[in-house]
Symmetry: C2
Subunit: 325 residues, 2 copies
């Protein structure tokens, strides 16, 4: 079961209640996880969660702006002080990698583990698999090169075929367990073939986490088989019109309209302007999104945990809130 | 009245309760202030205080380690997003300045104001004055070049000489006010000279804020006329002995012994190892300090505000706690 937690949902600058961008994503109750964006104080946010830097597989950075990457040096330095030894993958624009190299050299940082760099453009429609996560990137449109990460996880489950077991009169108990684990079993000269009594079930879950972007339509093709789109909606359309096009961000209306036209089942909006200092002030964004989109839509908040639950043929997104410890 | 607030008191890594190093220092109820060190998430801490980035005179960085400077890019970028226009002075080691230049160039940072760099070594025993703060630096001993900032502020007050006014039978009211402001006053052909009725009082306050350092004795000469020394005490002597000399930090015993031998009136210890996760765990450092030092000693905590109050001939340090808003 894919699940993720928002560590920062504010655009540009932190507020008293929201940090700048970061999101932790993993497979429920399995240790490897991905960190997508790493704004300043992401390591501070992590102190109040269950995600451990020891088990982090990769840090994926959408673009070079500070509110998406200034937490990187502190996070990797602290992992080192906690004696991490496993190599850590950094998937990022080249400028972020250059900046990290300069930071390490100039600030006397000595890592206890290796950083392995993958250029974000290397994964454009060419996925890699890391600890079971299939990761590919899609180009967006912003003031600097910005990307979306499409992450797919397929969970395989071997379920016993009860009807077949009963029909063949296989004795219950240890034998059933061995068959489920894939072992053939011989009883009184008769061999029971595991494959005859097991149904392979595959649960595929797919999420797109987009960086800053003023053209959601760029994700049209990428969104075809996606369960959830997590996309910035920095302000309402009214505010976007006042601000003008220079910042190159999306409005709630824009993203909602795209999600509706693409037939996306679930949408989470994040990266809200600091002018929306309270949840009440943020409500117009939800209302605007609901006006243009008939699917399930949420406004992200710091420390919210989302789980993608299987529900019959389709994936259904359910929201749980984890208290701030 | 000089006052300051700790924004971070943890060494190396943040904990749930303590951030990494930063301290805000100013003259009570006057706007210009100094930020000494700027660990990651210093701008987040500032959101919960009354210090405004608009009125910041200078950022002084003791040394290049990340827990003392990784908050710098975010802090200066956010000041820009809040449309600061006044130039900002950065007093720091050359490596910090190089890192900042690289960060600005590589992460698409566009400042609305100018940064003015002063190399920390330029102020070695050669003070400059910024908005009334006299700042000089003193070299310390650490794994990288590290410095202490000695900050002196002299407050001038013009007090009316009541005895002289009564003796000369100067009429009370507006005349007294004008004399205090430095204006001579003519009444019925007689001129009252302001200087004859005003006493110039000067209150000098002096604080040293030291960076990481394993040799407090290096501050011997600098401490002669100092009211308060703020110095790291990363652990107790017992832990320091176990850890060994490599980290090049001070123990509570070391700093207390130095303060005692130098006759310092006030001492504040800070920069505590994250192993001291609670106030109870930290108590042995206070006990150790009190064992070797007879002056007034405090253990710093995040968001504590200290005021240096004049008390007769000597300055007396009083502690106020400001609640976390």
């Amino acid at each position: 079961m894919l699940h993720w937690q928002f560590l920062g949902t504010s655009a540009g600058i932190p507020t008293k209640k929201r940090n700048v961008s970061a999101l932790a994503l993993g497979q429920y109750q399995r240790k490897p996880w991905l960190l997508i964006d790493c704004g300043e104080a992401t390591q501070h946010q992590l102190l109040h969660t269950d995600w451990s830097m020891h088990h982090l597989s990769a840090i994926c950075i959408t673009h070079v702006h500070g509110d998406h990457c200034y937490g990187l040096p502190g996070a990797i330095a602290s992992a080192s002080m906690h004696k991490r030894t496993a190599p850590l993958t950094i998937i990022a624009p080249d400028a972020v990698w250059q900046w990290l190299q300069q930071t390490i050299a100039l600030t006397d940082m000595h890592l206890t583990y290796e950083l392995q760099f993958i250029h974000v453009e290397q994964l454009l429609h060419a996925p890699i698999t890391l600890d079971g996560f299939v990761i590919e990137t899609h180009a967006l449109n912003h003031r600097v090169p910005s990307h979306a990460f499409k992450i797919t996880y397929t969970e395989s489950k071997r379920q016993l075929n009860l009807a077949a077991l009963e029909h063949a009169q296989v004795p219950k108990g240890k034998t059933w367990g061995l068959l489920q684990q894939g072992q053939d079993v011989e009883i009184n000269g008769h061999t029971y073939d595991s494959d005859d009594f097991v149904i392979q079930q595959q649960h595929r879950a797919c999420v797109i986490v987009a960086g800053d972007n003023d053209t959601p339509e760029l994700l049209q093709d990428a969104c075809v088989d996606v369960d959830v789109l997590i996309h910035e909606a920095t302000y309402t359309q009214e505010v976007a019109d006042k601000v003008g096009s220079f910042p190159m961000h999306s409005s709630a209306k824009q993203v909602a309209t795209f999600a509706q036209n693409t037939g996306l089942p679930n949408l989470i909006l994040t990266h809200f302007s600091s002018r929306y200092a309270t949840k009440t002030l943020l409500q117009p964004l939800l209302q605007e999104a609901q006006q243009f989109y008939e699917g399930q839509v949420f406004l992200a908040d710091d420390f919210q945990v989302y789980h993608l639950l299987k529900n019959g043929e389709s994936n259904r997104l359910s929201l749980f809130l984890q208290s701030h410890s």
